[in-house]
């Protein structure tokens, strides 16, 4: 049985996923895709929580991951309701079209 991968690889994977979430949030112009990028960032942070929980042999990181999941579920329901309202009023999901507070 060979040794496993170092813990830093897990943290590196978490960093890569977080950066991809940030990139998606800034590069994409669709409201739903931007919202999914936020979920990707939350998932990346969850991975590092679980990795540190393994490192310190304590279950607290799992509890925090659980709370992040609950908050993400609440955020998704409210955010998607906001997106529905925006679409009802504007007829578009492009974030460029939602600029009534500009100028």
């Amino acid at each position: 049985m060979s040794g496993g991968v170092p813990l830093s690889w897990y943290l590196m994977l978490s960093a890569v996923l977080f950066s991809l979430g940030v990139a998606g949030f800034f590069f994409r112009r669709n409201l739903i895709t931007m919202f999914m990028s936020i979920e990707l960032m939350l998932n990346a942070v969850n991975l590092s929580f679980v990795a540190f929980s393994y490192r310190f042999r304590q279950v607290d990181g799992h509890i925090f991951t659980f709370f992040v999941m609950v908050v993400a579920a609440a955020e998704a329901s409210v955010g998607l309701a906001i997106i529905l309202t925006v679409f009802k009023n504007r007829g578009s999901l492009q974030v460029d079209d939602v600029d009534s507070m500009k100028n």
Partner: protein, 166 residues
């Protein structure tokens, strides 16, 4: 075996995440995000988080992504149009993104403990019993507060989705 499993699921996660960022159709992005969440659940399992892996599949890949896909279907969301920003902004953004990633990787390499390899089965404190014991003793108040949060979110979603503006 541990290295092989990590590489398989990590590469799946990164590939699906890149696909999510690159795809222009929201439904393709949603399917890619489900791939990321599934492979992350497998990585949680390797790290000893049995309960969290199950909750990841049920809550994230099951509930939240179904909500996303449902909204995409409801709004009949198509391919996203071209941005009004000039293309130069995109080409400036890519070096900034790479710089952000390298700063983040440098910090992780600096602070990360390198000594200990991760082995499947080395940490068994993440089962449902241990999580439940911790959740209902030390974290009881936050747990009860989340129930209030979820209730408020339900009410907020109903009010927002019913509102008719003119």
């Amino acid at each position: 075996m541990d290295v092989f499993l990590f590489l398989v699921f990590a590469l799946t996660a990164v590939g699906c995440a890149i696909s999510m960022v690159v795809q222009t159709h929201p439904i393709h992005g949603a399917i890619s995000l489900i791939g990321v969440m599934g492979s992350l659940a497998m990585l949680y399992l390797i790290l000893g988080g049995e309960f969290i892996a199950a909750a990841q599949v049920i809550v994230y890949a099951g509930a939240i992504m179904v909500l996303f896909v449902f909204v995409i279907m409801l709004l009949n969301a198509g391919r996203e149009g071209a941005s009004r920003q000039p293309r130069m902004v995109l080409w400036l953004g890519i070096p900034v993104f790479i710089g952000f990633l390298s700063v983040l990787s440098y910090l992780v390499q600096r602070v990360a403990p390198k000594s200990e390899p991760v082995r499947f089965g080395a940490f068994t404190g993440g089962n449902t019993h241990a999580v439940g014991m911790k959740l209902f003793t030390d974290y009881l108040l936050p747990f009860e507060l989340t129930s209030a949060l979820v209730l408020i979110a339900i009410l907020g979603a109903i009010v927002l989705a019913r509102k008719e503006l003119d």
